[in-house]
């Protein structure tokens, strides 16, 4: 729900959006936590009565007085049957407890996965709306990490984090109640080490996290070293530096081990302390309850139950430290995800949008256009004024960095030009609904991006409603169809990582089909045939001649051969138009265009030797 995403800016809104929407299921989950623990404390209680019954039967020193209801029950059964009944009850209690535990886990952990799913979707949808500028400022890896590591931390907080917390609280309350019922004195004394355990765990977890960060830092150093070493392997080999590199690496590696061992020592002492303190509670319990039994204030059955409760309590209390930590990390990760969610997209429809514009013809005007990228000081385009009448072809030539691509990228509003400086059919770009604007532009970018999907999917990428005949036309014009026999599954061949690896030229031709299939009013080819061989290129140009009729076309190219028949050629230098005119005019002018032409003739002649 992209609409709600925009409103999630604070942690509170985050909780409202993702937590409270499942209020009823959370409540149900909590109910099952309660029920699980009610039955969990039942098992030791059954043990207690069973053992007490045995004590009663044995008689002797520890003379046990059974509660009257138990005596009544016992008198109804034979010894054999009574024990069998006790056994059966303990199994039934475990079964009911298990059922609730199953429901608890299923609901609460399942819920956290569902929230994870929802956040991931919202995150993805939001990413899709963000402008190109945002992606220049954020590394892919970083954006990915938020959708993976951070999301998992948030999930852990909302799933196991919440569940264990509830579990610890209720289980502690219940078992404490039972223990106090058995013997308040033994409860107090034997539980003395428990708070100490909780505090130690909490403190050590903090320490462990610190050490862990140190280890991660060193791990990064090792990674960086390997990366540098392998990237610079040519230099290193040329200078026979391998032995020194190994020595350097040895030091890093050793330091890594040293830091790891530091953590190992802290962990080892933490575990042995926990073991010791827990053992101490059992020992205290054994000793004190033994004394109580001797004094007739407790039964052996009670003692057995008591010890069972103690071991039941141990884990939740130890895990408290981890749970708290889970919460802390979850909050931090949540903030990182939210910071992306907060990013706004400036390039979108707004109150300026004129919704009556539903189609475009393709007359392009630049009016004293000066443009600089956000956050930079030097303009990339300087005072460009130019009109491309509908159906005409404009060619842009110039050196790398002259601003050719930027000029083209302003049309579909990948970046926003200053108001009033770019118009299509006389409308300022900002007044045209974004969907309408982009629908009418077919842009073949310099770098071809294909998806790991079928060829057909990649070609119908922006026009999945296009008829089959249009598809055939598109693949014919781009000449991809000539390679069809190279694709094992025809147009259904997978491309990319898991499928066929296309050559650079094939990729570009797929991209051209993709753009043409949209049947655009404005066709932009940004160095779109650089990897295509000359022969195929010629064929494509021939086909494109038909396509270009009636469409406004913008060609960006280094090769004179591709631009010479354009209606208008402009030469860009450092963001300014330095020459413009038709091919013959520019040649006659003997300027920059002419120099370029001469060079290319030379290169061509070399190529032919």
């Amino acid at each position: 729900m992209p609409s709600s995403v925009a409103e999630i800016l604070t942690f509170r809104q985050f909780i409202l959006a993702y937590f409270l929407r499942y209020k009823n299921r959370w409540l149900l989950g909590f109910l099952f936590v309660l029920l699980t623990n009610v039955w969990q404390v039942g098992t030791p209680w059954v043990l207690r009565y069973a053992v007490e019954y045995l004590e009663y039967q044995l008689g002797g020193l520890s003379s046990v007085r059974l509660p009257s209801w138990l005596l009544r029950w016992a008198s109804m059964f034979s010894l054999q049957h009574f024990l069998m009944l006790a056994a059966l009850i303990s199994v039934v209690v475990a079964a009911v407890h298990g059922l609730f535990r199953y429901l608890m886990r299923n609901i609460l952990i399942g819920l956290s996965r569902e929230i994870e799913y929802r956040i991931r979707n919202d995150y993805f949808n939001h990413l899709q709306t963000l402008p190109a500028f945002f992606y220049q400022q954020h590394k892919t890896g970083d954006l990915m990490a938020r959708a993976t590591n951070d999301l998992e931390a948030v999930r852990a907080m909302m799933g196991p984090g919440v569940m264990y917390m509830m579990n610890t609280i209720t289980l502690s309350l219940f078992s404490l109640t039972m223990m106090v019922t058995l013997s308040p004195r033994v409860t107090v004394w034997s539980l003395l080490p428990m708070p100490v355990v909780a505090v130690i765990v909490r403190r050590q977890v903090k320490k462990i996290n610190g050490l862990f960060k140190n280890i991660q830092a060193q791990y990064s150093s090792i990674t960086a070293k390997v990366q540098e070493n392998l990237s610079g392997i040519r230099v290193l080999k040329s200078y026979v530096q391998e032995p020194h590199e190994i020595v350097d690496f040895k030091q890093l590696n050793r330091e890594y081990i040293r830091r790891n061992m530091k953590l190992v020592r802290v962990r080892a002492s933490l575990w042995s302390t926990i073991d010791f303190l827990l053992g101490l509670t059992i020992l205290t319990c054994l000793y004190l309850s033994g004394r109580e039994v001797m004094q007739g204030r407790l039964t052996i059955g009670g003692m057995v139950a008591f010890m069972a409760y103690l071991s039941m309590l141990a884990w939740p209390i130890i895990s408290l430290g981890w749970v708290l930590n889970m919460w802390q990390e979850g909050m931090a990760s949540c903030e990182r995800i939210l910071s992306v969610m907060r990013e706004k997209n400036d390039i979108d429809d707004n109150e300026m949008t004129d919704w009556s514009i539903t189609s475009l013809k393709g007359q392009v005007e630049f009016d004293h256009l000066t443009f600089q990228y956000p956050g930079t000081t030097a303009p990339v385009l300087n005072d460009i004024t130019l009109t491309i009448p509908q159906g005409m072809t404009l060619a842009i030539v110039g050196h790398t960095g002259a601003g050719k691509t930027t000029l083209a990228a302003l049309l579909p509003r990948l970046y926003d030009a200053p108001p009033g400086s770019c118009r299509i059919d006389g409308h300022d770009l900002r007044r045209i609904p974004l969907q309408v604007l982009r629908r009418h532009i077919g842009f073949v970018t310099q770098e071809t991006m294909l998806f790991s999907d079928t060829l057909a999917e990649n070609i119908t990428f922006g026009a999945d409603q296009a008829p089959e005949s249009a598809f055939q036309d598109a693949v014919r014009i781009s000449q991809v169809y000539k390679d069809l026999d190279q694709f094992p599954d025809g147009w259904n061949t997978l491309v990319g990582e898991r499928g066929l690896t296309l050559s650079g030229g094939q990729k570009q031709r797929v991209a051209i089909s993709r753009a043409i299939l949209r049947d655009p009013r404005i066709l932009i080819l940004d160095d779109a045939l650089s990897a295509v061989d000359t022969y195929t290129e010629e064929a494509i140009w021939k086909e494109l001649e038909q396509v270009r009729k009636g469409r406004t076309t913008i060609l960006i190219s280094h090769r004179i051969s591709t631009v010479h028949d354009a209606d208008l050629i402009i030469v860009l230098e450092s963001g300014r138009i330095v020459e413009q005119g038709r091919h013959e005019q520019l040649l006659a002018a003997q300027g920059a265009y002419y120099q370029l032409y001469k060079r290319q003739l030379l290169e061509q002649s070399l190529e032919e030797i």
Partner: protein, 590 residues
């Protein structure tokens, strides 16, 4: 982990791999033995708790022997202290073994990588190799230090409990253990299901991540083609698949633990019923019954964990397979060893019918023949893709010829010790590689034998000194990764200093094409002259000044030598060189 790697994961256990892994354990066999011994001791102590409870109940509590109970408590306390020490020792010992092995493995991987031929790095992306040295080794460590050892520990406890129960009352023990096959079967079932569904989860998360990554990198295309809605739908599909897979694992987990507890309850029920009867019959004491109840509870924990350990083992196997894949790659022939260093070379380089290709079917150099006499300075020119870089790479054996021979002073370079060969030839590459470290480090690299005044001398000679001393910490200024705090020209001067510092007999220089300001241009020109002075030099020339300074020029075209001669001769010939010259230098000169 990529989808591809994830799909190959599946092999659980491979005895051949295991044997090789054990090889890494060998140097630490005494530590391992000690760890096992301590583990056994620890298991014994763990068994002692219920036993002491039994004694306390039967021999002391039931007869009101307070002093006896105190003795037991004291003994228990001592055991607790012992256990704390043992827990500490085992954790420390086993982790240390794991860490050491990890260290050894990283070292051998890294050292091995250093010896692999350059062509290996062309085939294997850096990212993948980094994963081998970092991630995969880490995965293996998890198995070695916590996996294997705790599996042993758990096993000892299990066996110990069975033995103890048998000794107490073998009939009750047998009855209690009746559920054992049931547990094993449940665990097995759980393990298979959970493994499969976790593989599904990993596969699907990998799909999500690659789709996400694709969308981020291709965001412009997505927006240009207004694909947002469709891609959202597709992402939702992938995301939902992942959710479904996860819900399945949650189901298995949610079922498994309660089932194990139920089986445990059956055991407890059996003890209550049969044990209870024995107590009444006086063939079993109450204390033993209590001890049984406690043993049963301890019995189930390790079994529960065992299945998780299995997963660990599985991914470790996959990781070790990948690691050994690297270690098994043959290293480059280092040439004869133990040979006395060659006498200083005269510096004659000869190519005899040399052909070379990165792939078998496509030669980038064809039948190249030439001889460079000692002390001569030669420029190599040619269009992009003519084979210039490949040519110079053959001289110091970064690559080896597909056919033909490269001679240095009349000796086949393949017969020279590799490090000796490279020590005598220095390369200055077009793309200057700056290592993270100080300026000084970048000049003399790791070679501690080069004195500082040599570094200073080299820097001064190539005009690098002036800008270096203006840096915040002079020669000790830390350069960032890839030298982003230096200008292009400065980086070049630095690499010249590097080459001069090592005082090579033969210099190979791949001139940079990037343009620099006029002042720096002048410095670079001077520096190149200094570098070439008095040594055989081969230069891929891009500067007019350079080709005017060399003795003769070698023109490569499409992998073949097409023209050789001095600048004037070649210009007069009006051939390829003439055109190249016009293309490359005319504009510069104008």
């Amino acid at each position: 982990m990529s989808i591809h790697e994830e799909e190959t994961l599946g092999k659980a256990y491979d005895s051949r791999l295991m044997r090789r892994l054990m090889g890494f354990l060998r140097p630490y066999r005494w530590s391992v033995l000690l760890a096992v011994a301590v583990l056994i001791a620890g298991s014994l102590i763990e068994l002692a708790g219920p036993y002491l409870t039994r004694i306390a109940i039967d021999n002391h509590i039931r007869i009101g022997d307070v002093a006896g109970l105190q003795h037991i408590a004291l003994l228990y306390f001592l055991l607790l202290v012992g256990q704390a020490i043992i827990t500490y020792t085992t954790t420390w010992l086993t982790q240390r073994i794991g860490q050491r092995i990890m260290y050894d493995m990283r070292m051998s991987l890294f050292s091995h990588l250093q010896k692999l031929p350059l062509s290996y790095f062309d085939r294997n992306p850096v990212g993948r190799l980094i994963t081998r040295v970092t991630n995969d080794v880490e995965t293996l460590n998890n198995m070695l230090s916590s996996g294997v050892v705790t599996i042993f520990g758990d096993l000892f406890v299990l066996i110990g409990i069975i033995v103890a129960m048998m000794l107490f009352h073998w009939r009750l023990a047998s009855l209690t253990l009746l559920v054992l096959p049931l547990i094993l079967y449940t665990s097995f079932l759980f393990r298979t299901h959970i493994r499969d569904s976790f593989r599904q989860v990993r596969l699907r998360i990998a799909r999500i991540n690659s789709y996400l990554q694709e969308n981020i990198t291709a965001i412009t295309t997505v927006q240009l083609f207004s694909r947002e809605a469709k891609n959202s739908a597709r992402f939702d599909e992938l995301n939902r698949d992942h959710l479904q897979a996860y819900l399945k694992t949650i189901f298995y987990y949610a079922v498994f633990y309660p089932v194990i507890e139920l089986i445990m309850a059956v055991s407890i029920g059996l003890i209550l019923w049969y044990g209870g009867l024995q107590v009444i019959d006086q063939t079993l004491t109450l204390g033993v019954l209590v001890a049984f109840l406690q043993y049963v509870q301890r019995f189930f924990m390790p079994i529960r964990d065992l299945s998780e350990k299995f997963n660990l083992l599985q991914s470790a196997m996959a990781a070790s397979e990948r690691i050994f894949g690297v270690l098994d790659t043959p290293i480059q022939d280092m040439g004869p060893v133990g040979l006395a260093p060659m006498p200083p070379a005269r510096g004659e380089i000869q190519f005899q019918r040399v052909s070379f290709g990165y792939h078998q079917d496509h030669l980038v150099l064809k039948d190249v023949n030439f001889t460079i006499k000692p002390g001569e300075k030669v420029a190599v020119v040619g269009a992009t893709g003519a084979g210039k870089t490949s040519l110079i790479n053959l001289i110091n054996r970064l690559y080896e010829p597909t056919a033909g021979t490269v001679f240095l002073d009349g000796v086949n370079t393949l017969h020279l010790p590799l490090d000796d060969l490279r020590r005598r030839i220095r390369m200055v590459l077009q793309e200057v590689f700056i290592f993270s470290g100080t300026v000084e480090y970048n000049i003399r690299l790791g070679d501690q034998n080069i004195p500082m005044d040599r570094v200073l001398y080299a820097a001064q000679e190539v005009h690098a000194h002036d800008f270096i001393v203006k840096l915040p910490d002079g020669y000790q200024t830390e350069l960032s990764e890839r030298g982003s705090n230096l200008s292009v020209g400065q980086k070049q001067l630095l690499s010249f200093a590097r080459a001069l510092c090592f005082d090579p007999e033969i210099l190979i220089l791949d001139e940079a094409t990037s343009s620099v300001d006029t002042e720096t241009e002048g410095y670079i020109r001077d520096a190149i002259q200094v570098l070439m002075k008095g040594r055989t030099s081969i230069i891929i020339a891009h500067r007019l000044s350079t080709i005017q300074d060399v003795d003769w020029i070698l023109v490569l075209h499409k992998g073949e030598i097409r023209e050789m001669g001095t600048h004037a001769e070649l210009l007069g010939r009006k051939g390829i060189y003439h055109r190249l010259y016009q293309l490359q230098y005319d504009l510069e000169g104008a």
